[in-house]
Symmetry: C2
Subunit: 303 residues, 2 copies
């Protein structure tokens, strides 16, 4: 549909067209829930969506990407997008659209030239626990889409096996959250709408330890890390309260209040990232990253 040198014939230019309004409905939660679809915007997110799409189809699964809209300029600048969409197994048609049309489809002032309509990618909790996970992050009552996306991205970087969102958390399919994941939403299994107590019970039954990230926690993350390193170096150490190298589910709470009392009570231990300066605490994204990397480091050293 894109030809060298001149714009293709079928370019969508009317921002008020039915199809455009239809895509734009996915900016809102009710529109997403109705169709079980969401939007991935910008070259990075769309590239990862297309990668997940072709991997999923190759494995006999269902399509991740349903439709792709892009400007001519974007496809020229990122030819790999067109290539990824056009491979025989992928069967995706790229619709050329104007900047105005893309802008009308999304909630961004400056769309980055490409939007993919994607099917929901979340999986059931059972599927995650059946895969013998070593590291899981669960977000409880997290409200800010940027924070949710940042933690998902950090969990991906730390090599976590899954991220779970409680039912009272922000919708990870919110366009702001999707953007903040920088493509990580398509990298690892995500469970949505989960009940904290059920997740904790299921994790414990599957042999996964449960740690609550809590600024006032009785265990110090840096001490746990030192104990873990000491074990790796065959040092005699007193007695370890929790071995970070063991399979672990981390619970992270709301950005303002942290975890609720009853959520903390469900965990095996409450663990604090030590604060060495005068700051009252770390913010959610940075605290979660430090916790997840501590586990990742210990698990990789051990295993």
């Amino acid at each position: 549909m894109i030809e060298s040198g001149r714009p293709p014939v079928e370019a969508m230019t009317n921002p008020r067209a039915d199809r455009v309004r239809d895509v734009a409905k996915l900016v809102g939660r009710s529109g997403r829930l109705k169709r079980r679809q969401f939007l991935a915007e910008g070259p990075q997110s769309v590239r990862e969506a297309l990668k997940a799409h072709s991997e999923c189809l190759a494995a006999g699964g269902s399509p991740v990407v349903e439709a792709l809209y892009a400007t001519v300029e974007c496809l020229k600048r990122y030819p790999e997008l067109l290539e990824a969409a056009s491979t025989p197994g992928t069967r995706l048609q790229v619709r050329i659209a104007s900047e105005m049309v893309l802008s009308a489809m999304t909630d961004t002032v400056t769309p980055q030239g490409v939007v993919a309509v994607c099917n929901f990618v979340d999986v059931p909790l059972d599927a995650v626990l059946a895969s013998k996970p070593k590291l899981i992050a669960m977000l409880c009552q997290v409200r800010d889409p940027g924070n949710a996306g940042t933690v998902l991205r950090a969990a991906d970087a730390a090599g976590a096996d899954a991220v779970i969102f409680s039912h009272s958390s922000v919708d990870i399919y919110n366009p702001k959250a999707v953007r903040a994941t920088a493509g990580s939403l398509f990298h690892l299994p995500v469970v949505l709408g989960a009940d904290v107590a059920e997740v904790v019970a299921a994790a414990k039954a599957a042999g996964v330890g449960v740690l609550a990230a809590d600024g006032y926690g009785h265990l110090n993350l840096d001490l746990l890390q030192d104990e873990s390193a000491a074990r790796a170096f065959d040092q005699q150490i007193p007695d370890s309260s929790y071995a970070l190298e063991d399979p672990t589910l981390w619970l992270f709470g709301n950005e303002a209040q942290g975890l609720a009392g009853e959520e903390k009570a469900l965990a095996d231990h409450r663990v604090a990232v030590p604060v060495y300066g005068e700051a009252e605490s770390l913010n959610l994204g940075t605290a979660a990253t430090v916790c997840l990397y501590a586990s990742a480091r210990a698990q990789r050293r051990a295993g």
Copy 2:
């Protein structure tokens, strides 16, 4: 000025008053530079500003807070603010203002009931290096106020001795940046408008090693951490490329492009936070936190 039970006589209620407009000018960079003042909003920031203010006065320094505006409701809810402002050594008058007035003074839709006009708190580079620092964070060409504030807060939590911003970075006195620091702007020395090459040269001359945070760096942060732990446990280890327990200046780059080539070239080493999953990278705030905590942990273990 606040009396129990009824609103005080002198409450400011006109959002168009000259004094209100005068304060509102500090929302913009030119207004801030002209008066060398900025705004701290909300109970947490103002509490830390008042603490810094009284400590500074007690040490014979100049005032940090110049004026304080608050709603009656806020002072009732946070009586410690009124108390901190009213101690004999502090000499601050709290002006009661309506929500509308506070809203007109700031750029927030829902002001949190209290605003302090503060004098610039940044210090010269020489003062930082003369204090024998062990851990410094420098942000080079960081553009987003939220990111700048998040890294400052993380540096404070990690017990860093100072944070330095390059001249091309976002203004840390921007209200969004101040909010993201969550009070940390008043906790540790901040240097503004610095030249990266000059800072690196001065740091090296002061015996401080320089590490560039770089996703493609030749050193792996987790290996450096393991080497540091091994030294602490008196293990025989091959040869260490850099001892994290040594005094260190970390360079962090722009959120989209990272550090520029010439900035990386200035550092002793380029260090990557390892990515164990499929994520392309961590975002600036989370990467900086992992790096700073790695140094903090090593230095505390050693010291």
